[in-house]
């Protein structure tokens, strides 16, 4: 090869490189999303509000659908049961595992999913704090984060926490026990003065909502410190009483009809302290799925226009819970209004019963449609909800569709006509006034100097408002029978059933591990749910709970 050629090749190659070098710096341009810096500059103060809204929306994810936190707080407790009906409701065995307390790490998808859902709220709320929020925005964000942290602590016994602006690739520290609950309380106390005293709606965090959550924190503090045998500090009980007394003077009152709290028009219900909003007719409530609150329990044939897809025929309750209302006999389709305790339901509810025949509350026995005709199941039997569920939770036989007392607490919204349930207007009640009353009563009984009489008065006032006879005496709990109707635990059950507090209550009352309907006595490690194993693998500070 001659030298000229070599020189030419060299020149050419170099010129090639000269032509082409520096064509691009290879910077990534995002085209329909923003970088963090762009978010701060482009959205300004309004952007912080949008990020805050995201945190509010996260609550819907966790709480509206009964398949989420509800499944962990209610199905794993004593008042909710999801029997497998041959080919229906097997769902990889998760409902049986939750009921029998036989779950394993990663074996039940809800346990894993809710850890992530709640931590998304944890993150999204924290993230607001790194976007120069106003004082009120920061307070709302801290309140929302406190809900996530409280729930994580309750379910998993610990939570990871980041500082605003932390590098998300780094493993965050994890808090458990009293460190954890102290942090939540400190956060709430710091946020409280900056929250609005009178929020724009029940959907906005206000001082009352923060006080309510503080009450829960103080009341459950002993259980968070030592879940298997909680003890209660008098100072904490006094805090519950003080905060509760303030709330009891804040203008909340019992509704005339218990189910008005859960109706399609419940946005301003007088018992509602904090709620998650929905708009009737707006299928754009997509994260809510509150319609599943009635879709899951109702039988397939319980709304003529949608039959046989009017319900999923799943979530039920047990006879023991039904009996804890101390009725002599069962309710009928036309219960006398003298029947005690309206909370058990079974009464005509305008807008629902005239549409589908559904009478909100605990549904037992023969079911009727909107014109009063008996409903049949898909096999042609009359649809008679039967309290007797097989001990194996595996229903077979010709009446398997009819097994289980159903609960419809949220009144179905039929305002979308014959089309669909998918755009209901019911708001999900997160915090409700009677819980304040019951927490105060409990704190009075758990105080160093118990005020059992004061507690009984509060409870009997509530019972009277619900049409139930006053109790003569009321112990906190019967440690061998969670359904003992005379106890405060049972009263909480009758008032707050299917409101995502039952598992927490059973733990606090020390009876979560004892035997109850369909669940034998079980090992102490089931008091906490297992952490998702990928979360444990990703964060060395996050140790799997004992026993898993």
């Amino acid at each position: 090869m001659n030298n000229k050629n070599k020189i030419k090749i060299t020149i050419l190659s170099l010129s090639m490189i000269a032509i082409t070098m520096g064509c691009t710096k290879l910077n990534q341009s995002l085209n329909s999303t923003l970088t963090r810096d762009q978010t701060i500059t482009a959205l300004g103060a309004n952007g912080t509000q949008l990020l805050l809204q995201t945190a509010y929306d996260d609550l819907q994810q966790a709480y509206s659908d009964p398949g989420n936190v509800f499944s962990l707080e209610e199905v794993a407790a004593d008042e909710c049961i999801v029997p497998t009906r041959l080919g229906d409701w097997d769902d990889n065995g998760k409902w049986r595992a939750l009921k029998f307390h036989t779950w394993t790490a990663d074996g039940v998808d809800v346990i894993r999913n809710q850890f992530n859902t709640l931590n998304k709220l944890n993150f999204d709320a924290t993230n607001v704090l790194s976007f120069a929020p106003t004082k009120q925005q920061a307070a709302e964000a801290k309140f929302l984060r406190a809900i996530a942290l409280y729930q994580l602590l309750d379910l998993y016994g610990k939570f990871p926490i980041r500082n605003p602006g932390d590098n998300l690739l780094n493993a965050p520290p994890v808090l458990a026990g009293s460190d954890a609950i102290d942090l939540i309380i400190a956060d709430l106390n710091a946020a409280l003065p900056d929250l609005p005293a009178v929020p724009a709606s029940k959907a906005q965090a206000g001082q009352d909502a923060a006080k309510f959550l503080l009450m829960r924190c103080y009341l459950n503090k002993g259980a968070f410190k030592n879940p298997t045998s909680p003890t209660f500090d008098d100072a904490d009980m006094q805090q519950v009483i003080t905060l509760g007394t303030a709330l009891m003077g804040a203008g909340y009152s019992y509704t005339a009809n218990f189910f008005d709290n859960f109706s399609p028009n419940n946005s301003d219900a007088s018992e509602s302290i904090f709620a998650l909003p929905n708009t009737a007719g707006k299928i754009g409530n997509p994260q809510s799925n509150i319609q599943n609150r009635w879709w899951a329990p109702l039988h397939y044939n319980q709304y003529t226009p949608l039959n046989p897809q009017a319900g999923w025929n799943g979530f039920s309750t047990v006879a023991e819970f039904y009996n804890s209302f101390s009725l002599s006999g069962t309710t009928t389709q036309t219960p006398a209004d003298t029947l005690l305790d309206k909370r058990i339901g079974g009464r005509y509810y305008a807008g629902a019963t005239n549409q589908s025949g559904v009478r909100p509350g605990l549904m037992i026995g023969q079911q009727y449609n909107e014109s009063g005709a008996k409903i049949s199941d898909r096999k042609g039997n009359f649809l008679i909800f039967d309290p007797n569920i097989d001990q194996s939770l595996k229903e077979t036989g010709s009446t398997l569709e009819d097994k289980g007392i159903r609960i419809v607490k949220y009144v179905p919204d039929y305002s979308q006509g014959t089309i669909t349930y998918s755009a209901p207007g019911n708001w999900l009640i997160m915090f409700r006034y009677p819980d304040v009353v019951l927490m105060v009563a409990e704190a009075k009984m758990r105080a160093a100097t118990p005020d059992d009489a004061g507690a009984l008065t509060l409870v009997n006032n509530l019972r009277t408002a619900r049409g139930a006879a006053p109790l003569a005496s009321m112990p906190l709990v019967n440690t061998t029978n969670v359904y003992d109707p005379t106890t405060l635990l049972a009263e909480r059950g009758r008032e707050l059933y299917w409101e995502c507090v039952r598992r927490t209550d059973l733990i606090r009352f020390g009876v979560y591990l004892i035997s109850w309907a369909y669940k034998p006595t079980d090992d102490a490690h089931y008091i906490l749910f297992p952490l998702p194993s990928d979360a444990v693998a990703a964060n060395p500070n996050l140790k799997q709970n004992t026993g898993y």
């Binding site: 090869m1 050629n5 030419k8 090749i9 020149i11 050419l12 000269a18 032509i19 082409t20 064509c23 691009t24 290879l26 910077n27 990534q28 341009s29 085209n31 329909s32 999303t33 970088t35 978010t39 952007g47 949008l50 929306d57 497998t84 041959l86 080919g87 229906d88 097997d90 769902d91 990889n92 065995g93 790490a105 990663d106 809800v110 931590n119 998304k120 944890n122 993150f123 999204d124 924290t126 990871p160 926490i161 998300l168 965050p172 007719g281 299928i283 226009p305 949608l306 897809q309 898909r378 042609g380 077979t396 036989g397 089309i419 669909t420 998918s422 194993s533 990928d534 693998a537 990703a538």
Partner: protein, 994 residues
């Protein structure tokens, strides 16, 4: 960079070259003409003098003129698509050379990426398939041309929707995420794997439908335009494509204009549906009646007799017409081809109409020192789909309705109206009738290149290509159907659009010279810039006033009166981050004495997808070849015609993760909401596959028997994993490079033989078998669950896992332990176990061609062995239990020990079945009339059958099945969930030239 600057520099270089003088020693001049077997001039054929540096290439008329040293006696003539030939020139000054197309000989030219090589010079594993060996029959996209033809390449049709994407795996899975398809390069232009068909995921809007199948990115390449397809399998071959080479590279070379007089090629064919090859069998009306009676189920017999699948099957003819004209002379040549085809799917209202024009031309400037090439593909597709999606729950899939429809319930009642539903199952014919989904896509794929011969041996080439596609989608479902929540009673309409634009700039230098008389250097170096943008938007609406009652319907679709909707949801726009890749690459081939070959390849890829700490990746490879048969001790062997040993090592990458993954991203889902949706990772980089390959190429008995054997080992590290970020974190995914290794090891063996070579009768056969096994190691975390099982009551169930020391997507299921002898209930263990491999271990291709005079018969079979299929169709749609709900069930569900009274649904190993199959993919009978009359040339008529039969013990549908059951971004494998059934097609066609 601007075009002006480029031209200035080119001109400078060109002037330098023009003033250069060469010194010659004593020479002689040889002229000649190169034609193909039909006498058509072969332009661009390489002519080199054996044992010297001299070489040239033929002009448009196939002519060449070459000065060679006086002692040169042999010329080597080669060209893409032809067998290379040695020509004796001793004592001659003019030669006529006829190049043979064809034989699977080692002399054929293969495309290696940015240049070409003779197969016998290769150090890497490259498979090359020529047009004449392509599969025949109904071909809606080019990858179907290759089924069973390439050892170690598995092509799985994901859907029977004409034109749907396929899963292609070359040498197993080398990634634990989706994105395992190879890189496609068409005439030097790398394609984006996406298409401009607007995606439609109704499931994301809370509807019971999943995403519809994606389109095949090769849809816009006219199969009749393809000259050859080369598959780069090992690192030595694929490293030239660097960060995109790890899953192999498929290079498609289209037909180019040939010189000579005006020529017209015409092809026409008509295809007919001839039944389903294999379907998921359900009870017929009588069996259903008897089953109901035997089980004391009353009220299930409506007296009719219906085969619901047949009711939604159509028997419309597919048609395919192609025309190509070409002409050329001294200054240039062109080729224009047109394709018009209408492929009918087996299901009613499914079809794919394609119109593709391809214009390519080549012109010579400046004394032929400059060659200008351009081509433009303009295509339009019109795709009709029905609601068959991969991921729908049984409540949203037409085929599930058809499987579950009570076969005793007539489709229509006496007044001619539909029986709208039966036991909560919507009437499948009514749903098909009410559902309209049309995607129209226009594509322009243009490229222009200029090749400058700077001086003998050194060519500079500039290529610019642009691929622009834009598509619209109109989907609607009438409200008069019953039982489809929440559409019944209100109707649904969706409008969508998408555009995809990608551009390529490539500069290459090719240099070929004889360093000494026995050492040949062949080098290529270059720079490439590739950029792609994708955007899509969609809007949907519900609540229309029309078509809410089946007895008073209008033909006006909701999509034509969108504003009538009660509720319109906000338009959603997604613009993907721009992807840019900037690359420098070089490859050097050295040939010593035609015995020893060395190849070194290097590519540096910079990508803006990578994290800012890792913008550039470097991909080296080396390969060597030892032609044993050219050694003295084997030179006179009567057994081996040729024998060569190859070895290679190299690194390739996989960067198939979403652009923007390295950055924190904030996005919005609506006016009042903004949130972080991605967790950035500055250190994110490509997935790296180190691989070695050892191969032996052999041909014996005078090339009558030939083939190769390859051993390989691929080790993928820095596995890209998409996972929930460390909590607390946004509901986003985050991408990490996981410190784990994915190992693929395998053997590939091919053998071809001219078994009979008579004057009238010939028989050629090819067989290939590949064995691959993969395993994930050093994966120090708990199994990641994937492979969602769908169906009522199966939520939360998964079938597969990504787990340490297991094959990818290993089955991970609760064990099934038979039925309880008294109750008949199934007994299932509590905890999942590793339960088998969904990856095929052996894949086989077998093709034969028989010729007798003007008749020829060829058939092509392929099969996969050693894997399990999860029959989710049986588990989730047609298990025994469904009978109790009045729904139809699969055959064979009685007498298993299971009883209807206790039958239930639960995912377990019960639904794992051996998937082994051997399929008659294609059988073609051809009659070659030859030249007929004065004008008609090369007249051929053929009849061809596709998907004739499959031999398998699998009880479901087609065992070649891979329905996408991705879970949290982790892919699944070999899950059967109500796939589009595989149709058998008969095609009759002719082709001829004028």
């Amino acid at each position: 960079m601007t075009i002006n600057r480029l031209l200035t520099r080119l001109a400078t270089v060109a002037i330098c070259v023009l003033i250069t003088q060469f010194a010659f020693s004593q020479t002689k001049t040889i002229t000649g003409k190169v034609t193909d077997e039909k006498g058509v001039a072969v332009q661009g054929a390489s002519v080199s003098a054996k044992g010297s540096k001299a070489g040239t290439s033929t002009d448009v008329s196939g002519a060449f003129k070459l000065s060679v040293a006086a002692d040169v006696n042999t010329l080597v003539i080669s060209s893409v698509g032809y067998t290379s030939q040695d020509v004796d020139i001793s004592g001659k000054t003019d030669v006529a050379v006829t190049l043979a197309t064809g034989n699977a000989s080692l002399n054929e030219i293969v495309v290696t990426g940015y240049s070409t090589a003779r197969k016998k010079d290769l150090t890497g594993a490259v498979a090359s398939v020529k047009a004449k060996d392509f599969n025949a029959g109904v071909i809606s996209s080019p990858d179907q041309l290759l089924s069973g033809k390439v050892a170690g390449m598995e092509i799985i049709n994901n859907s029977g929707q004409p034109g749907a994407a396929t899963t292609i795996k070359i040498r197993g899975n080398s990634s634990i995420r989706a994105g395992n398809n190879p890189l496609y390069v068409v005439d030097g232009v790398p394609l984006d794997g996406r298409t401009a068909k607007p995606p439609l995921d109704l499931g994301a809007n809370g509807l019971p439908f999943g995403p519809t199948p994606e389109s095949n990115p090769l849809l816009y390449i006219n199969p009749a335009d393809i000259a050859q397809i080369d598959v780069l399998k090992d690192a030595s071959s694929a490293a030239i494509y660097g960060s995109r080479g790890a899953n192999g590279v498929i290079l498609i070379t289209t037909k180019k204009a040939s010189s000579g007089p005006f020529r017209l090629d015409v092809g026409a064919s008509v295809g007919a549906f001839a039944g389903y090859m294999k379907r998921h069998k359900v009870l017929d009306a009588n069996e259903f009646r008897n089953a109901a009676k035997d089980n004391n189920l009353s009220g299930l017999d409506s007296g009719g007799s219906v085969n619901a699948l047949d009711e939604i099957t159509q028997h419309t003819l597919s048609q395919n017409y192609s025309v190509a004209i070409s002409q050329g002379n001294e200054t240039g040549k062109f080729r224009v081809s047109l394709l018009g085809s209408s492929n009918q799917g087996a299901l009613k209202k499914t079809s794919l109409d394609k119109y593709i024009a391809n214009i390519s031309a080549q012109y010579y400037l400046l004394d032929k020192r400059v060659t200008l090439d351009f081509s433009l593909i303009a295509g339009h597709t019109n795709e009709h789909m029905t609601n068959v999606s991969n991921t729908a729950g049984a409540g949203g899939n037409l085929l599930a309705y058809a499987l579950n429809w009570n076969p005793t319930v007539p489709i229509r009642n006496k007044s001619g109206l539909y029986n709208l539903n039966s036991y909560a199952i919507p009437n499948p014919v009514s749903v098909n009738d009410a559902y309209n989904d049309v995607a129209k896509v226009n594509v322009f794929l243009g490229n222009i290149s200029a090749t400058v011969r700077l001086f003998k041996g050194l060519d500079y080439k500039f290529l610019y290509a642009i691929n622009n596609g834009s598509g619209t989608r109109e989907m609607s479902m009438d409200g008069w159907i019953s039982g489809v929540q929440p559409i019944s009673g209100q109707g649904l309409a969706v409008l969508g659009d998408a555009t995809l634009t990608s551009q390529t700039f490539t500069h290459t230098l090719n240099y070929k010279t004889n360093l000494t008389s026995n050492i040949i250097l062949d080098a290529v170096a270059g720079y490439e810039y590739w950029k792609t943008d994708f955007r899509s938007s969609s809007i949907y609406a519900t609540g229309f006033n029309t078509n809410l009652d089946q007895s008073s319907r209008t033909s006006i679709l909701y999509t034509s009166m969108f504003q009538n909707a009660k509720t319109q949801y906000p338009l959603t726009t997604t613009v993907d981050p721009t992807v840019e890749i900037q690359s420098y690459f070089a490859r050097v081939n050295l040939n010593f004495f035609d015995k020893y070959y060395l190849t070194g390849t290097f590519r540096a890829d910079g990508s803006n997808k990578f994290g800012s700490d890792n913008k550039y990746g470097y991909f080296p490879s080396v390969g060597a070849r030892w032609v044993i048969s050219n050694e003295d001790f084997l030179k006179n062997s009567t057994v081996f015609s040729s024998l060569a040993l190859r070895g290679s090592w190299g690194i390739t990458g996989n960067q198939e993760f979403p652009a923007g993954a390295a950055l924190d991203q904030y996005g919005t889902n609506g006016y009042l909401q903004f949130s972080q949706i991605n967790v950035g990772n500055k250190t994110l980089k490509w997935e790296q596959t180190k691989s070695w390959n050892v191969g032996l190429d052999y041909s014996i008995m005078n090339n009558r028997i030939y083939g190769s054997i390859d051993f390989y080992d691929k080790n993928t590290s820095d596995l890209l994993i998409q996972t929930a970020p460390i909590q607390p974190a946004p509901a986003a995914v985050a991408f990490y490079n996981l410190p784990a290794n994915l190992i693929n090891r395998g053997i590939e063996f091919t053998i071809g033989a001219s078994i009979i070579q008579g004057p009238k009768f010939t028989w050629d056969a090819n067989f290939n078998i590949a064995y691959n096994k993969n395993k994930l190691t050093n994966f120090n975390q708990p199994p990641i669950l994937t492979g969602q099982i769908s169906g009522p009551s199966l939520s939360g169930a998964t079938a597969e896992a990504i787990a340490n020391d297991q094959p990818i997507d290993v089955y991970y299921l609760k064990p099934f332990m038979g039925f309880d002898k008294t109750t008949g209930a199934q007994i299932i263990g509590d905890n999942p176990q590793f339960s088998g491999d969904p990856n095929a271990h052996e894949i086989i291709g077998f093709s034969n061609t028989f010729r007798y005079g003007k008749f020829s018969l060829s058939f092509n079979m392929n099969g996969s062995f050693g894997f399990l299929i999860y029959n989710n169709t049986l588990n989730g749609v047609t298990p025994l239990y469904q009978l109790s709900k009045g729904e139809n069930i699969a055959t064979g569900q009685f007498g298993t020990g299971e009883q209807l009274a206790t039958a239930s649904i639960a995912a377990s190993t019960r639904y794992l079945e051996k998937g082994d199959y051997f399929k008659m993919r294609n059988l073609t009978f051809n009659y070659s009339f030859g030249n007929t009359g004065k004008y008609l040339k090369n007249l051929n008529a053929y009849i061809s059958a596709t998907n004739l039969f499959v031999i398998t013990k699998y009880t479901g549908g087609d065992p070649e099945v891979n329905v996408d059951k991705t879970n949290n971004g982790y892919p699944s494998l070999s899950i059967d969930y109500i796939p589009f059934p595989t149709p058998r097609l008969i095609t009759v066609g002719v082709n001829f030239s004028l």
